[in-house]
Symmetry: C2
Subunit: 340 residues, 2 copies
């Protein structure tokens, strides 16, 4: 091949260049490229050939202006620091790429005011948004959903399409597991009070524990970071529980570290169950027994849901929330309860 795959550094060819070169009108070129049935096969062929030769790429901005379609989806995460989101982002990225959409990654780390404002400014640049762990109120969320197609992850608000990882379902398995190992007093190491998932997990734990004749205890809230695992570990040491279920793996792994520093053996002295099965849960020390969540799959589902919603139009009835099951993955951080 003598000619470069990359043309000289002139400005990109427009639809008008293709029109001039081919002798057809711009409108015909437009239709030839995006509305195949609307134009003679021969004409289309000719136009397509010329477009390719000119290395023509439609300008997404301009297209968005009339069609209203931007070809990109915003993915909002509340804290890009949390590895849980990595799986999610990976999932959304895969699916978006497959559907030829672009992913706009946005970190909303701030107050809910800024979150609403951010989304609002995005409304023009994205065809829809995927919200993970949104801090918006139900009303804010609903108001937003009227203005822009939305899918929420791990958040249930009636009327808003959602993908929900059914960790409570896994909680039952975790409690069965712990109860059968002889644990009679189990602490739930709580995540942020504002977190919807956190509340759900605790409620399920409380209920199921009572059924199993196990005594449930709840800690104060801890930020979802490894660092706060240290404090949580101390709290566990001072408690009388022999096992804990932790809001997420990040805190759990932090606790493991602290336990080792303090000479507390896991699982001989204390059993630990995490939630999510993030990257690292399998190779930490000891490997963490955890509720494996299909994180990537959740990301992919959310995208599919959003995309099919875009096709269906906003007036279509919102689909029911999609529940993704979790399962307990037993590793080395759980064992028989210690004797008193």
């Amino acid at each position: 091949m003598s000619n470069d795959p990359v043309s000289p550094s002139t400005r990109p060819a427009t639809i008008h260049d293709v029109a001039r070169e081919s002798g057809f009108a711009a409108s015909t070129v437009s239709r030839a490229l995006s509305n195949p049935g609307r134009v003679n096969a021969q004409t289309r062929e000719k136009i397509v050939a010329i477009a390719r030769a000119l290395n023509y790429t439609p300008n997404t901005q301009a297209r968005a202006l009339t069609s209203g379609q931007t070809g990109s989806i915003a993915v909002l995460v509340s804290d890009i620091t949390n590895p849980f989101y990595f799986g999610l982002i990976r999932g959304t990225q895969q699916q978006l790429k497959a559907a030829n959409y672009l992913q706009m990654l946005v970190d909303t780390a701030e107050s809910s005011d800024s979150e609403a404002a951010t989304i609002d400014s995005l409304r023009r640049s994205a065809d829809g948004a995927i919200l993970t762990a949104s801090r918006l109120s139900d009303q804010q969320l609903l108001a937003l959903a009227e203005r822009m197609p939305l899918v929420a992850i791990n958040r249930h608000v009636p009327g808003i399409p959602a993908v929900i990882i059914d960790t409570p379902f896994g909680i039952d398995q975790a409690l069965d597991h712990l109860a059968s190992l002889g644990h009679r007093r189990i602490t739930y190491v709580s995540g942020p009070d504002m977190s919807w998932s956190n509340e759900r997990r605790w409620q399920r734990l409380e209920k199921t524990a009572q059924k199993l004749g196990v005594h449930p205890v709840r800690t104060r809230e801890y930020a979802p970071s490894m660092a706060s695992g240290a404090a949580a570990a101390e709290a566990m040491i001072n408690s009388e529980s022999t096992a804990c279920v932790v809001f997420n793996d990040l805190i759990a792994i932090g606790m493991l570290e602290r336990f080792r520093e303090r000479g507390v053996r896991v699982p001989e002295d204390i059993s630990v169950v995490g939630c999510d099965d993030i990257f690292g849960a399998d190779f930490c020390n000891p490997p963490l027994t955890t509720l494996t969540a299909p994180i990537e799959r959740a990301g992919r589902m959310a995208v599919s849901m959003l995309l099919s919603r875009l096709e269906a139009g906003a007036d279509a009835p919102p689909p029911p929330p999609m529940l993704l099951p979790t399962h307990l993955t037993v590793r080395k951080s759980t064992g028989p309860a210690r004797e008193h």
Copy 2:
């Protein structure tokens, strides 16, 4: 407050709505909002007030059409599966957000053909791009750089602005460390042959090892994943080296796992040094001695570099590559060489 922060579900206000409401022309509104000096202070105030009341958000697409500025930057990663990139993405995200840019995250997982094509289609939707571990040839990269502002990470091509994590510098420290522990034969566990960083690391290791009177050995290439760590570990076991420096932490952690399964003790039998210090390197078992790279900082730097390049204009001379130092973080995976 009686009125919602979110207006009713009508379509968003345009500049014309603001114009009509305020009695000024659209052009004046435009100038009032984006070209402060060009308009009377009072008029501006009035317009700003009305714009706010109408909850007006400029349409980025339309703006991009005339101004040529999209307000977003593309970040290309070759494999979003690799946690190394998370740090990077986090860094770019932070800096972009601070500068009020949007991040378009793109996974180029494929052949270099598709990479070039992807970037080309992005040219219209982004003001610039950050390339991490690009598989493009030097020429392709240079051609691309003519058409769109670029910053490369960990890739040096003369004429292309770059941020380079100076791992080779750290390699020296690692070798000093290992040599002083009595290791006399050190294996470099190689990453992908095509990787620029991989080549640099090996060359430095080879050179420095010889200076220190240590015998350097190089393995075949391994894919940068935990899974390939198993094979790499086997290779180490069958070799006569007592220590290894591994292309990256991902492989290294995979090796650690395998060593444990095989009953090989780290660091008693074999010492392992990783590269990058990714999430997890501190809590794996044993915690990994590694070359800590300022990953997030690299992301931030790349963004700053790109942004200042956008301001300076493409004709400004390309800045020299920015070298970011690494340092050895000693944890528990390295120890005295075993006796023969």
